[in-house]
Symmetry: C2
Subunit: 224 residues, 2 copies
DNA sequence: TTTTGTATTATTGTATACAAATATACATGC
DNA sequence: GCATGTATATTTGTATACAATAATACAAAA
């Protein structure tokens, strides 16, 4: 085996992990609707794998609460309701501020630099109106703060919540006004963290979540 | 088959569910230490089942973050550190108050009655110093409030946190002084909820968590 | 002695086989 | 027509078989 092969091994991910991601994404994005029954045999055929890794993915989705397990009948999709989405925003409002405060206390220079670069890229893509990149960078911005908080539970919980909101976030960021406002808010949070102002980081993060929530609410009201 | 057998069917739970509970409990209670490797084959032999349901249980534990998955090597136990426990209390401080407030808004008369009965039993067992029953009732008290909050995410998150702290809670409740204080605090929370005083329910619940945290901290300081 | 290559062993990853449970279709009786 | 019982088909639940990967032991060379 050559040296290059040893240095660049392929990811070598297990099948159940990939299948889990596919199914989770299909549930989050509404490909599978709440109430849909997922069949091991059918998915097994569709994806061209045996039932074993599919069952393993099911167990993860079940644990996550995205599907409900019916003994000897398989799993039915749960998905998210309007209320669930609002609920997530309410809980985030409680947790994101705390996370930003703790991140301010624990952040490393490298993470701070990464945060800065992320914001610079956000600025670039905001001007270009590249929604896909903006969504990616937004996730990255928050992800760094989650990790810097040093709390495995906050990381796990908020990462999931953020992931669940992926669709709605893209909608928000496709509005140039909201994208610009997001950038300004991110900059404020970054500067607070950089200057080690815990309180301000907490307050600005809470405002950021509140503004995101308000934007969605307003958008929804208009649509009705 | 007798009629009695038909009226009281066994739960008919799947194996992977039972195995998951066994393993989770072993991790939470420190039977498996952080760093321990869990082997499918060994557990399969020990428990007298095939590897399939064990793998399914592993996938749930993995998703929960209680074990870390190593491709082609199995899973290693993660468990909880001192910091993790403190961390859980910090996060609960943010979430339990909100949950109590929302429970006050949504609680049903039946749930209120159940809460009342739980506290009456708590009073009974506090006088008898029955720690096991007190731990069970404490969980039940909080569980009712979680459910009454109507938020599937709060239910899921806080239920887990509460479960993780089972061991430490039993230690607290085995101190008659702390048990009495817990009862008084629960009563206060119950009365706020009953009289639909959201703010007070939130404040008292936060105090309750804060007091529980302080007690643990003090206990730890003494031990050192 | 240390290192490295190789054979062996053990473990996981996936597929498949069979048992158990459930749903479905259809016939039978009312 | 409607309900009920039964046979069939389908699906899940579990066990097992085989393949792939990684760890281990050991021998050979530097």
């Amino acid at each position: 085996m050559s040296r290059i092969d040893r240095n660049y091994p392929e990811p070598q991910r297990s099948l159940h992990g990939k299948i889990y991601e596919i199914l989770e994404s299909n549930i989050i994005n509404g490909v599978y609707k709440p109430g849909d029954c997922l069949s091991e045999s059918k998915l097994s055929e569709e994806l061209g794998v045996s039932r074993t890794p599919i069952r393993e993915a099911f167990r993860q989705l079940e644990h996550e609460g995205l599907v409900v397990y019916k003994p000897n009948r398989g799993v039915v999709v749960r998905g998210f309701s309007e209320e669930d989405i609002q609920d997530i925003y309410k809980i985030r409002l409680m947790l994101e501020g705390m996370t930003a405060r703790r991140a301010t206390e624990n952040i490393t220079p490298e993470q701070l630099e990464e945060l800065k670069e992320t914001i610079e890229l956000e600025e670039f893509y905001t001007n270009k109106n590249d929604v896909k990149q903006l969504a990616r960078l937004d996730s990255h911005f928050h992800e760094i703060i989650y990790i810097a908080s040093g709390s495995r539970f906050l990381i796990k919980t908020l990462r999931k919540f953020h992931h669940y909101l992926g669709k709605i976030r893209s909608i928000s960021l496709s509005d140039p006004e909201r994208a610009k406002k997001t950038l300004i808010e991110h900059k404020g949070i970054f500067e607070s963290i950089q200057s080690k102002d815990r309180e301000m980081a907490e307050i600005l993060m809470e405002q950021h979540i509140r503004n995101a929530t308000r934007y969605i609410e307003k958008k929804k009201d208009k649509a009705e």
